[in-house]
């Protein structure tokens, strides 16, 4: 960050209303925000619907609700995720199903429903090449699905290992390695190792590894994929790193280790964290505030590795459940809250 970071501000671009219950998650479509395509994101809510929002023009500060995806999920839609190509949207619901949606001539059609979890599905995520989906649930299991031609979906693996509710699944940004975090306070790493033909847990990051001491809510990777950040009910953000992620492609597993803990910044549960391609960490928490952190590269050897860039108090009226940076050259930040709104923010100096 070459700029004078002390003077940065997080300015509200727009407040988006429409959901009639708390907004749980949002996901920017990765195929938008560049090549002249206006930004687009989906949001999911306790009102059992998913809304799709589109920027009016690429440089505009106005977003319009383009679609409401309803009458499919019968309970809260907890999470949503666009495929890497931006063509499919996966939505995970407390009704124990995950739905796949395809944009067919401007209309979103539910093209497949994934059943199998015993109860609430908490999170859904696509791998980098878009052929694998991961889901996790209150039933403590993590499932991997393969999306085949014609949107046919098959279960590839059912992974047991967490001892409590699994809050989020996240694929590594380049490798087919899966991460999950749970109410059991751990982060688990899953890989398809050569020896057997099934996926298995290759690492558990818990308290003995300087891990979290309470529920881990969210995971995000840096742009190169050699670091990840996790946030927790223990009021900390933790940064983890791996030596050589490329080892993974050679069938070897590169273990992750604790690098740094951002402590004393939050006094309520941190529900969401997202790492921008430019290296800015955004956190959303139960204190209704958004915080941004940056690499403290001027620091002395023993100094903090990250420092607070800014804290946006009262960003929302209630808990912030999700924060995510947009794709594109000048990323916007979007936040989803229990107050039923989504806000879009611009970082300006």
């Amino acid at each position: 960050m070459g700029m004078a970071i002390e003077s940065m501000e997080l300015n509200e671009v727009e407040t988006l209303e429409g959901h009639t219950d708390r907004v749980w998650s949002l996901d920017w479509n990765p195929a938008t925000g560049h090549s002249g395509i206006p930004l687009l994101f989906a949001s999911s809510s306790g009102d059992k619907t998913v809304r799709v929002w589109e920027q009016n023009t690429l440089s505009s500060n106005r977003f319009t609700c383009k679609a409401v995806l309803d009458e499919t999920h019968t309970r809260t839609v907890r999470s949503c995720a666009w495929s890497p190509s931006g063509k499919l949207l996966a939505t995970a619901s407390f009704d124990a199903t995950t739905a796949l949606w395809e944009n067919v001539g401007g209309e979103f059609e539910c093209v497949s429903t994934l059943e199998g979890h015993e109860n609430e599905v908490k999170s859904v995520c696509w791998n980098a090449s878009g052929n694998l989906l991961a889901t996790c649930s209150r039933d403590k299991s993590v499932w991997i699905w393969e999306v085949q031609q014609g949107n046919d979906v098959e279960c590839v693996s059912v992974l047991q290992g967490h001892t409590q509710d699994v809050k989020m699944v996240k694929w590594h940004p380049t490798m087919d390695v899966l991460f999950s975090c749970s109410y059991d306070n751990t982060i688990k790493v899953w890989a398809d190792e050569g020896e057997s033909d099934d996926w298995q847990c290759v690492q558990t990051l818990g308290e003995p590894n300087k891990g979290h001491t309470s529920t881990v809510w969210s995971i995000s990777f840096n742009a190169s994929g050699n670091k990840m950040v996790t946030c927790s009910d223990d009021l900390t953000l933790k940064v983890w790193e791996t030596e050589n992620i490329e080892l993974q492609s050679a069938g070897e597993f590169a273990p992750w280790r604790h690098l740094y803990t951002l402590t004393d910044y939050h006094d309520r549960t941190i529900f969401s964290v997202h790492w921008s391609r430019e290296g800015i960490l955004a956190s959303g928490a139960a204190d209704n505030a958004i915080r941004l952190f940056v690499d403290n590269n001027e620091s002395e050897v023993d100094g903090p590795m990250f420092k607070l860039l800014l804290k946006k108090e009262k960003a929302h009226d209630m808990d912030i459940n999700c924060v995510q940076w947009s794709p594109g050259e000048k990323p916007l930040l979007a936040s989803a809250s229990d107050d039923g709104t989504i806000k879009v923010w611009e970082l300006a100096s």
């Binding site: 749980w24 199998g116 015993e118 609430e120 979906v153 279960c155 509710d165």
Partner: protein
């Protein structure tokens, strides 16, 4: 829920996140006590319960009837119960009969590095030294299960071919019923849509129980309540199977599962896992490897005149293979010699075999092991895209040899290495033999069950399945 049960059972019963007590009919102690934010806001606050110091007793029957869970505490209790109960029944002077599964035989053979036949003979010695009256072999009853399964398949196939209505369509695929983890999962999670497809024929465990308690006792002039029948199985879920109401009958009548608890006879009184038998051997401080070998009890054991064990190929019971051969021969006049040509579909736990007649696929059978493959088959069944005639579904990856009750790999041994070793050892000293030719099975038909597929055979050898209604509490919990 203990991780010893199969994945299918675990996934089907995982409801103890908030607390088991919400879905369970019996209140249990201790859930996680720290406060948490549930995703399911607004959160209903649950009053903290007093931690109970007395262990709460839940029978397996309670668990089968409930859509809640079995927690690890009870599982530990159950395990203890089995060994203790076994020993106390031997001491009580009951006529204890042990029926040993061929998968358990293989597991012990690998563990002690001796042959399965030696294991069988040494175990006979060991059990008899404890006071057990007889040790039998469930590959013998399995042959009866297989014969009846062939009959059922033929009936289902013909029904499917003859009539063209929805009801008849549901007669196929037929699904093997030997895996209690799968049956329990189907009853609790899948409900009525898949249950009609599950074979009505009892598993080898329950078949040998039926033979012993309904026929053998009478034949030998022993009262069934004087017999304590224990099976040795590769699988914890078999304990749940033995506890089903369907496998309990009242003396003097054939109204199974009804009436008071007085004089209720269980086909199988207790199930020990292979691991528990090893524990028992260690508990008794026996040097198993150098233990003397007793002759086998031939009455219900697949052993021929020359002293060789015999049985079908297929370490999960050979259901698909046996029925495929029988159907090919009976329906299409094709005698298939040598091993069947199973092809991997997705992975080695999902294999398919087909029969082509005049360029048309007339039989399509599959082996489907492990929860992930089971899910895909269920998905196909639900969407009506399942074109199989028969499915050998087993909840455990690699099937029954890898059951949760088997002896764990030794230090430095990978599960895969162990699994390959078990596959090799499984058919060691075992001659491949056709179930229809089994002299014990023939004898049972001649003296008791009349003909394969007869009304009498069905009365004794068939069972039924019951969709478990979700309790209101479990529905509320999953609201």
């Amino acid at each position: 829920m203990s991780d010893k049960f199969s994945a299918a059972l675990r996934i089907g019963d995982l409801n103890d996140f908030i607390a088991p007590s919400q879905a369970c009919i019996v209140s249990l102690k201790g859930s996680k006590t720290n406060t948490f934010k549930s995703d399911n806001k607004p959160q209903v606050s649950i009053a903290k319960k007093q931690v109970q110091s007395e262990p709460v007793k839940i029978s397996l029957k309670d668990c089968l009837a409930c859509s809640g869970c079995v927690t690890s505490a009870e599982t530990v209790m159950l395990e203890k119960q089995s060994l203790d109960e076994f020993l106390s029944n031997v001491d009580k002077g009951k006529a204890v009969i042990v029926s040993l599964s061929p998968q358990s035989r293989a597991s012990l053979a690998v563990h002690f590095d001796i042959s399965p036949l030696q294991v069988f003979k040494k175990l006979t010695r060991f059990f008899k030294s404890l006071g057990v009256k007889a040790v039998f072999d469930t590959s013998c009853s399995r042959d009866l299960t297989l014969v009846e399964s062939c009959m059922e398949f033929m009936a289902r196939y013909r029904q499917n071919q003859l009539v063209d209505d929805e009801r008849s369509k549901s007669s196929l695929p037929m699904i093997a019923s030997a895996c209690p983890g799968w049956v329990c999962y189907a009853e609790k999670q899948l409900g009525s849509f898949v249950l009609p497809n599950i074979s009505k024929v009892k598993s080898p465990q329950q078949t040998i129980g039926t033979i012993i308690k309904h026929y053998l006792c009478q034949d030998m002039g022993v009262r069934p309540e004087e017999v304590y029948h224990v099976t040795v199985m590769p699988c914890y879920d078999k304990k749940l199977e033995a506890a089903r109401d369907d496998f309990v009958f009242q003396l003097g009548s054939h109204d199974e599962g009804h009436g008071s608890d007085v004089n209720m006879i269980s086909e199988v009184d207790s199930v020990l896992t292979t691991g528990e038998v090893l524990e028992l051997i260690q508990l008794k401080d026996v040097d198993f490897k150098s233990l003397e070998e007793d002759p086998l009890d031939r009455l219900l054991t697949n052993i021929n005149e020359e002293g060789y064990l015999y049985g079908v190929r297929g370490s999960s019971g050979g259901y698909a293979e046996t029925i495929f051969r029988y159907a090919a021969k009976t329906l299409f006049g094709r005698q298939i010699d040598g091993p069947l040509n199973f092809r991997n579909i997705r992975n080695s736990d999902f294999q398919e075999v087909t029969l082509e007649v005049e360029g048309k696929t007339v039989l399509r059978f599959a082996l489907c092991y492990g929860f992930r493959n089971l899910q895909n088959v269920v998905r196909k069944l639900k969407t009506g895209k399942c074109d199989y005639h028969f499915l050998e579904i087993m909840a455990c990856p690699s099937g029954c040899l890898n059951g949760g009750g088997q002896i764990k790999p030794k230090t430095g041994q990978s599960p895969k290495e162990l699994s390959q070793l078990l596959e090799t050892v499984y058919m060691e000293n075992v001659w491949e033999a056709e179930p229809f030719d089994n002299p014990t099975v023939r004898d049972l038909y001649d003296k008791w069950l009349e003909q394969p597929g007869s009304e009498k055979a069905q009365r004794f050898m068939h069972t039924q399945y019951h969709p478990v209604e979700k309790s209101i509490t479990s529905q509320l919990q999953n609201w």
